[in-house]
Structures are given as C-alpha cells and as structure tokens.
Amino acid sequence: MKTENASSREAYLHDLRGYQTGLLLAVLLTVVPFGLVAWGGLSYVTAMSVVAVLAIVQIVVHVRYFLHVDLSPERRDDLHLILFSALLLAIMVAGSIWILVNLQTRMMMPM
C-alpha cells in the first residue's frame, strides 16, 4: 500500500512538473515578443517574423503540456486531427488572404 502511495505521489509530481514546465515556457514565450515590441528596436518585418515563430512555438508548448497531445501512440489520433485541421486552416487562410490582397492590388491599379 505504501509503495503504491509513493508511486502515485511520484506520478503526481511528474504531472505537476509538466504543467510547471509548460507555464515557465509559456511565460518566456510571451514576455519575449511583448518585450521585443515594447523595445521597438527591430524593423516591422523582422519583429513580426520573430513574433510569428515564437507564437507557433508557444502553441506547440500549450498543446504538449496543457492539452497533453504528444508523439505517443495513444495520442496519435488527436495529433492527426490537429495536424489535418491545421492543414485545412492553412489552405483556407492563405487562400483568402491571397485572393483579397490580389483583388486589392487590382482595385488600386490606375485604369
């Protein structure tokens, strides 16, 4: 009984460390882009590229440590669902932006 308690305590601490790691990384990945924009030393394109990359990394951190979807076989179905949704989303978002920006350039053209 005692060993069972000890192992469950160990499992609890392991899971707790997971959430703490997630929080630490998330705070870091939030503070850096906010600090970068507040500082304003970088050009718009450079700053936004860094912000975009850090946002994607933070999304992966949240999915891994808070939503518990990782590369393990038990979570494979959820991972496939997320990746497929991301693919659909990328096609729809990139397509919409492409079409509308193209339309805008054509409307700005002199006759």
């Binding site: 929080l23 939030t30 882009p33 989303l89 729809m92 919409s96």
Partner: protein, 212 residues
C-alpha cells in the same frame, strides 16, 4: 476447486472489461470534443483571415489605425490572466486525477473562474475605451473585423465561465462522480484551447498592431 479459482478471476475479468468500456466511453467523449474544438478552430481561423485582409488603408477607411487603438499594457494583462487561469485549471485537473480531495479541485476551479472573470473585465474595459474614442464596429472594415474576432474569443471565455459555474454546482449536488469528472475533463480541454487561440490574438492583433 477449479470453479472456485475461476470464479474470482472471471469476476475480475468482468470488472476489467467494464473498466475498458468505461475508459472507451471517456476516450470517445474526449475525441468527440476534439472534433468540436477543431471545427471551432476553423471558425477562429477564418475570422483571423478576415482580420488580416482588413489591415490596409482602404479597410481602415480613414478611421483609427491598429497603432492608434491598441496598447501593450492591456493586452499583457489579459494574456497574464488567461495564462494563469490555464495553469490553475491544470492544478484542478491534477487534484481530480490523483484524488487529492474535492475541496482542492473546487478551490482551483474557483481561482480559475476568478482569473477568467478578470480577463473578461480587462477586455470589456478595453472595448469601452475604444467605443469612447469612436472606434465602433461600424466605423471601418478593419474595426468590423476586429470586433468580429476578439469578442468572439471573449464570448467563448464567457461561455467557459458559465460552464465552470455549472460544473461547480454539479460538484456540489452530485459530488465528483465519473460523469462530472468526464465533463470537467472536456471543460479543461476547452479552457486550454481558448488560451491557444489567445496566443494568435495577442500576436496577430495586438503585437502586430502596436509594432506597426
């Protein structure tokens, strides 16, 4: 003698089988909820796309620009509240998973609810400041898209808070039964999912707006 030996093992097998079915049901409910969240993600994504296409002179239509309207402080506060609430919900989920007692589960849920309410408070005060400056949805295409995207997330957080209140009542009435636990697991997914959407909002709306 053999039957006596077999009986308990059969009984054990039945319990184990029931457990498997039970486990299956919980897994199915969670997978179904993932499907809902991913369709919700598509909705958010298209609102993001709409917003991004309005970040130009034509859609701003001489009205206030993102740079005029957004400030880092408010966005940082909202981000902090939401991220903290995600962590406290995680602590509640852990207390539930490891049977640390109903009071711990409820305590962290209440903290989560307060942080969620704090987030909504900052968001609403930001919107009312924008309204006071004349930045209303009908002012420009950009503002229509902004008030489509960000309050959509706010409405989700409001729904999450209401769901949390319902779950607190359910814990009080039914206790931490398997059904209540299963609902709490889905609410946890929903809550963490909203925090993921917020990463997109603070990056693409607030940081991009202020940096411009």
């Amino acid at each position: 003698m053999t039957t006596e030996v077999l009986k308990p093992s059969r009984g054990y097998a039945l319990i184990a089988e029931n457990d498997v079915h039970h486990h299956d049901h919980g897994e199915k409910a969670l997978s179904g909820f993932w499907l809902f969240m991913m369709s919700d993600l598509i909705i958010f994504g298209l609102f993001f796309a709409t917003y991004l296409t309005t970040l130009n002179k034509m859609a701003i239509a001489g009205g206030p620009t993102p740079h005029d309207l957004f400030e880092l402080k408010g966005a940082a506060m909202e981000t902090a509240f939401l991220l903290a609430s995600s962590f406290t919900f995680g602590l509640s989920s852990l207390a539930m998973k490891y049977d640390l007692g109903t009071s711990k589960v409820v305590g962290w849920l209440v903290v989560t609810l307060l942080l969620g309410a704090g987030f909504l408070f900052f968001e609403v005060s930001e919107f009312s400041r924008m309204f006071a400056e004349g930045a209303v949805p009908q002012r420009s295409g950009f503002l229509s898209a902004f008030f489509g995207l960000v309050p959509l997330h706010g409405a989700h957080v409001t729904a999450g808070c209401l769901w949390l209140i319902v779950m607190l009542v359910q814990i009080r009435v039914f206790g931490l039964t398997d059904a209540v636990k299963s609902r709490l697991m889905r609410l946890a997914l929903f809550w963490h999912f909203l925090d993921v959407i917020w990463i997109g909002i603070f990056s693409a709306v607030y940081l991009a707006g202020v940096a411009q």
